[in-house]
Amino acid sequence: MYKLLIADDEPWLRKRLMLTIDWEKLGISEVYEAEDGARAFALASAHEPDIIITDIEMPELSGIELMKTLNESAMFPQFILISGYNEFEYARSAVRYGAVDYLLKPIEEEDLKKAVSKCVATLEKKKYNQQLLDLFSSSSNLLREKIYIDLLLGKLDFSKVSESHLHELGIVFPTSSAMCIIAHIHPMQHTVSESDVEETLVGFSVSKIVKNQLSAYFGEVLDFWMDEVNVYLVFSDLPAEEFTAAATNALNIAKKQIKELHAVRIAYGIGSVADKLSDLCQSYRKARYNINLCRSQQKDTGISEEHANSFQVVYEEYNLKSLIAAIRKGDAEESASLLTDLIAEFLNQAGGTPTALQIKLLYLNILNSLFKGCLPFLPVSEEVIKICLDYIDQASALHTTDKMHSELQSLICVLIEQYQSFFNSKRHWLIDKIIDYINENYAQALSMSDVAAAFYLNASYFCKLFKEETGVTFTNYLMRVRVDNAKRLLADSSMKLYDVASAVGYTNVQYFSTVFKELEGVTPSQYRASCNSK
């Protein structure tokens, strides 16, 4: 449905058009009327009509001036010009400003309807073309995104698809090289957010800031959501080293903005510079590697080549943070090796023979950091606090680095144990909701993709998550729920077998019996018989 404006200083004409024409039938839902050109312009600006029927001779603003002014305001409605007098000059101007028709007064009803229908047909065609265009560009964008993801994952077989094929599809570096970047909220920050919605919103905002900052440096930025992280692709003609440096700058600015805005930290991984499409998967792997490194090291930046250059930095910013991260992960081996490295570094800095005071200070410092870094994230019992205090008492009796090493090692073991027991008891926050959902809906046909969709999860991710968290596959779990409920119904009532089957979500009785036998070792009928005999 379209909007139409009638502009004419003849009141009877306006009244007639308003009253006697079945506008709805012509595809017009709203009709406005103006008694002069200035009013017509105001109404047109406010309502943006699709069609304007205007007199040429009007007070304030003539019909031709109205067309011109609207065109200058970037409004291009369909114009039908009406005039009392046929003048060639008028007609010529009207055509110049895109009039569809030029009608002479008195305006015959049929002529007007024909002209309006012509406008509507033009508008429909325009709309259709726009829809086609949108559809085409969105489908080609989807295809492009899919191909880029395949390129990043190294899934595209270059023995079958040549680079020039991809170029034809618009998949081509606008510059000489490209680089893959991964950035997201630092994993340790996830525990901070209070609600899922908030987390999602912050996530959106973070990816937007990162993208904006990258495009400030590199222009066009492509971004993809893959493997649960935001992946960005930037393009540049800079030499590799400068390219990497520019990306680091952009990400550091983004990081700062994000910290100020959301009080969260982001981690990022910068990939290698790719000179051709087939190198993209390497860039992605490198970015992935760097961000993993950064996660495990509790650093924000993921450039593996970067080395800290003083003991102070190593001690405060590097090893201790990654040690805490390793403890939180429950990784005994990694934390042991990091502790060894740390002490070796300390010995090296101290020239091989640290004083007892230096040892005690380092010991207390490390204790302090470990307690601060680990205890707040645990439901700490009194017992654990007592153990921790014992370690502080040990400080006065410390004289050698070996002793310090073994004390710290045993503390780390205690902490890891605490973390492990805590995390093993804690399920993924969604799992309880998913299980509730299954318990409520098992009576209906329920596929894995239905449930995944209900929680906005990717089906394969859902499958993996469910198996990891519950120890059984979704299908097996659902069978279990259904069979358990069926057992209840079989024991408690005299329901017919096919009613029981359908009550627990099986439309096929035969299949239900097979599943039941599989899980229970007996058929449903045998089970019922055994219940009744009790």
Binding site: E10, W12, L13, K15, R16, L19, T20, E57, G84, Y85, N86, L104, K105, P106, I107, E108, E109
Partner: protein
Amino acid sequence: MAAEISTLMRNVSEEHNRKIIATIQMLQTEINPHMLYNSLESIYSIAKINQQEEIANLVMALSRFFRIALSGGKHLVPFREAFELAKQYVTVQNIRLNYKILFTYDIPENIYDLNVPKFLLQPVIENCIIHGFQNKRGEWHINLSVNEEGDWVVLTVRDNGIGIHDSTLARLNKRVENFNFEDSAMGKGYALRNLNYQIKLKFGEESGIRLNSVYGEYTEVVIRLNLAGRKTTRG
């Protein structure tokens, strides 16, 4: 002496003729076309709002008639306009006469672009309606047929009216033939005489108008245009 009188008479006549032309031109320019058509638009709109279709149709036909009739300056127009003028004239009269007239026509496609005097058909049809039928009962049939015969285009307007007595017919044809300023009082038959004069002016001496009739059966006006005799001057 006789020649002097004749010259004097011609001068007087030409003076008279100029006066008529001036009057027409004054009428054409004095009427503000916007005022006229806006008024007609108002009448049409009021009629439409009050669902008076007859009034609406009459005003519409009248407007279209004026649109061509009053389009200043152009004496020669494409045949389609001259025909449209005649058609709208019939429509106006038909509404007035409660659809008594049946107007039929047969025109070859290529004729429509031929340049002809604007008032080629309308005065002929006006004659039919005003003189041809009197108060004849039943349907008034007017037929226009156009035929091409070599260099000639022949237009025949025939009515099924009361017809003309032979003696009257001869007199009428003579008057139409012998158009001169001495006789050009705006009385009976002036329109056809004037038209005949104009046709000869544009299409040469051989072209012209002739009336045929069988009393009590029909009257027909035959307009013969010699395309080979066309004058190149326009207007």
